[in-house]
């Protein structure tokens, strides 16, 4: 794929097709060609870009302008105005408020291009993260004040439930429900734990939040303490994040000095203190019960559940464990209301998602966009296209526990439910973009190597399953595979999912399942023809036999 100046998308859901989207597409093609813009502008039809009374829709990026309903006769004018002269064809603009679903975010685009919607990273890069005063000037701790002066604990939980916020650590569990569970459990002592043990390869969003806006996480933890009835919090940061640790320690000291942390915060009855605990290099400690074990000074091995941490967590007490990105959403929701939050994203996954774009694209980095954006949009707009004119083959989402998303799914909205329906997973928000030179066997081997190294070895399905799957993939990559290996890989994938104790083992088999589902012919070529189609695998076992 090459880098284009603009990208034009035409909706092609059944309604749009019925109303002439196909003709619009053809006219666009002709007009773009007649202006000799075909090398500068990419044109595609996309399946579902949200319901609208304005179908068929035409969306032009990077400005993210929505036109609709567009008739074939309008196309000439649209191309001349927008694509040739670079002016927005105002008369054709879609009435944005009628749009629902994930594209309503375009309404709120900022002045900078490409448009992003920043909620959790709103202040990162704008405020001085080492200054509590600067944070307070930018709304910092105003949500906490509101909560402590105007709201009852159950009101806070109700707002969260209404907002529809779902955990951003990967599983997507409704945050309000989790808070309610902990709040309802009777106990003389409860804990709030912030999970900042971000170790998914490819994910560094939590690091940027902690480094760029550390107070937003502290504020949310204090609010959480008030809502669930806890007076003590732990922030578990991974050991490698030196700057984030420094910033958090400094932020806690500043907040304590201002009386925002400690006894009777803002003159209320709520008291709260936060302790920082550093990880020591273990991926598995991102699993909430393993994290709790690690805080208690033990090996980070996940506990058997139930009981869940909401009733039996840290030191056996009810414990609320939330991811950094989840917590960073709390204060904006309280400040602006649950209805405001639901304006972003999709109905089942409201809000934004921070993605890290890495791999074979022209521009890597971090973006915050509404839930429901598609891979195609991310790739073209924010990744600025594939590097060196390469072809997009697949994306690996959510670090190592995510899925391999083949190019055919690049128009599926990225939200928890749409991805689950397509049989893939969004994970924690990493998007590793791979080009046609990437070998799926080699990639799966690297992923399984990660899992076999990071498996805590407590339960045998994971300890043995990841090791065996790695060996099989290694054999295939050396040209020593047999067709039975494919069945075995499928079997290991199933066993890992069904029998492992925790999320690590359960998701460890998903790369196996994905390569067999989407790239089976490529794997078979390694076995039957003893050839690696991309030339990545050494296949040395085979050549040495000859």
């Amino acid at each position: 794929m090459k880098a284009y100046r603009s990208m034009v998308l035409v909706s092609s859901d059944p309604l749009s097709i019925k109303l002439g989207a196909q003709d619009v597409y053809q006219r666009l093609q002709e007009e773009i060609k007649s202006h000799q813009l075909e090398n500068e502008i990419s044109l595609s039809m996309v399946a579902d870009i949200g319901h609208s009374d304005s179908s068929p829709l035409v969306i032009v990026y990077p400005e993210a302008v929505i036109y609709g309903p567009v008739k074939p006769a309008d196309v000439k004018f649209l191309v001349e105005e927008h694509l040739k002269k670079g002016q927005i064809a105002t008369s054709l603009l879609a009435p944005v408020k009628e749009l629902s679903g994930h594209i309503s975010w375009l309404n709120a685009r900022a002045g900078s291009l490409p448009a992003e919607q920043r909620i959790v990273l709103e202040h990162a890069g704008i405020i001085d993260p080492t200054s509590i005063e600067d944070t307070i000037v930018h709304d910092g701790y105003s949500a906490l004040r509101k909560v402590l002066t105007d709201m009852k604990p159950e009101d806070v939980v109700a707002v969260l439930e209404k907002s529809g916020l779902r955990g951003r650590g990967g599983a997507g569990f409704p945050t309000g429900t989790k808070w309610k569970f902990v709040a309802k459990t009777q106990s003389n002592k409860k804990y709030v734990v912030c999970n900042a043990d971000e170790s998914e390869p490819g994910t560094f969003k939590d690091r940027l939040i902690l480094e760029g806006d550390p107070h937003s996480v502290l504020e949310a933890m204090i609010i959480a303490g008030y809502a669930v009835g806890a007076d003590e919090g732990y922030l578990y940061i991974r050991g490698e994040y030196n700057l984030a640790q420094e910033r958090i320690h400094q932020a806690i000291a500043q907040a304590e000095q201002k009386g925002i942390l400690g006894k009777n915060i803002f003159g209320s009855k709520h008291s709260f203190q936060i302790q920082v605990h550093t990880g020591a290099g273990a991926y598995i400690c991102g699993e909430e019960t393993a994290l709790i074990e690690s805080i208690e000074g033990k090996r980070g091995e996940p506990r058997s559940r139930p009981p869940y941490p909401t009733t039996h967590g840290l030191y056996g007490k009810p414990t609320l464990v939330n991811n950094v990105e989840t917590l960073a959403n709390i204060a904006p929701i309280i400040r602006n209301s649950a209805d405001w939050y639901r304006k972003f994203g999709t109905p089942s996954s409201p809000g934004t998602k921070v993605f890290t774009i890495i791999g074979n694209v022209n521009e890597t980095g971090v973006i915050e966009v509404p839930m429901g954006i598609t891979l195609r949009e991310v790739l073209t707009i924010y990744g600025k296209g594939m590097k060196d004119g390469a072809t997009f083959k697949m994306a690996q989402t959510g670090g190592s526990s995510g899925s391999l998303i083949p190019a055919v799914l690049q128009d599926t909205p990225m939200d928890f439910d749409s991805y689950a329906k397509a049989g893939v997973s969004m994970g924690s928000g990493a998007l590793l973009i791979c080009d046609q030179e990437t070998c799926v066997v080699d990639l799966a081997k690297v992923l399984l190597n990660f899992f076999r190294n990071e498996s805590c070895s407590k339960c045998s399905p994971c300890r043995i399953g990841t090791q065996r799957a790695y060996q099989i993939l290694d054999n295939i990559s050396e040209g020593l595979g047999s067709l039975k290996d494919l069945d075995d890989l499928q079997m290991f994938s199933n066993y890992l999912y069904e029998m492992s104790n925790c999320g690590l083992g359960q998701t460890a088999g998903s790369p196996l399942k994905d390569i067999l589902n989407y790239f089976r012919s490529e794997v078979e070529a390694h076995i039957k023809l003893k050839v690696c189609p991309t030339g990545v695998c050494r296949m040395s076992g085979h050549t040495s036999i000859n």
């Binding site: 390869p201 490698e240 030196n242 550093t278 990880g279 000074g297 090996r299 074979n360 971090v366 080699d442």
Partner: protein, 159 residues
């Protein structure tokens, strides 16, 4: 114990400092081990024994914790520890080529220490700076966007 001597701090002192800083509490075990590891470069048996007595944690349990976490070492390392990320994001971005050049450059296999005690090469799962892949750390310094050609000049900075 070249490194211990070099830093001018005895095992006894390092353990004492860590226990004073975090308190003699078993729930502070991981931070205590981390601090001692940082001071000495690894966790000598002597250190584990003392900590075991002070925290009233059996030595076997202490050892099981010390070997669980990747940032804790129970064997003495070289003067400089090279940590190379072997995860998918770095691998896809050219890490494969850099890794084989790295092994040639240091003439080491993963997990090994050079005979002169200068280098130890280990692989790690992720360093959290994936947009800059391939990535490695030499001691506390991070290097990103690595190429096979850039390696000799980086290693030349370390004595």
């Amino acid at each position: 114990m070249t490194r211990v001597k070099e830093k001018g701090i005895t095992v006894k002192q390092a353990v004492k400092d860590a226990l004073e800083f975090y308190g003699e509490k078993s729930e502070e075990l991981v931070p205590i081990l981390l601090k001692v590891n940082k001071e000495l470069g690894f966790l000598p048996n002597e250190a584990l024994k003392t900590i075991s007595v002070k925290l009233r944690v059996p030595q076997s349990q202490l050892y099981s914790v010390a070997t669980f976490y990747k940032m804790l070492f129970t064997k003495e390392m070289g003067r400089h520890v090279v940590k190379f990320c072997e995860s998918a994001p770095c691998h896809v971005a050219g890490g494969r080529q850099v890794w084989s050049a790295l092994k040639d450059e240091l003439k080491l296999q993963p997990g090994a220490t050079s005979p002169d005690g200068k280098w130890t090469l280990i692989t790690v799962s992720c360093l959290g700076i994936c947009a800059l892949g391939p990535v490695m750390m030499v001691d506390e310094d991070v290097y990103g966007n690595l190429t096979a050609e850039s390696l000799p000049s980086i290693f030349a900075r370390y004595k």
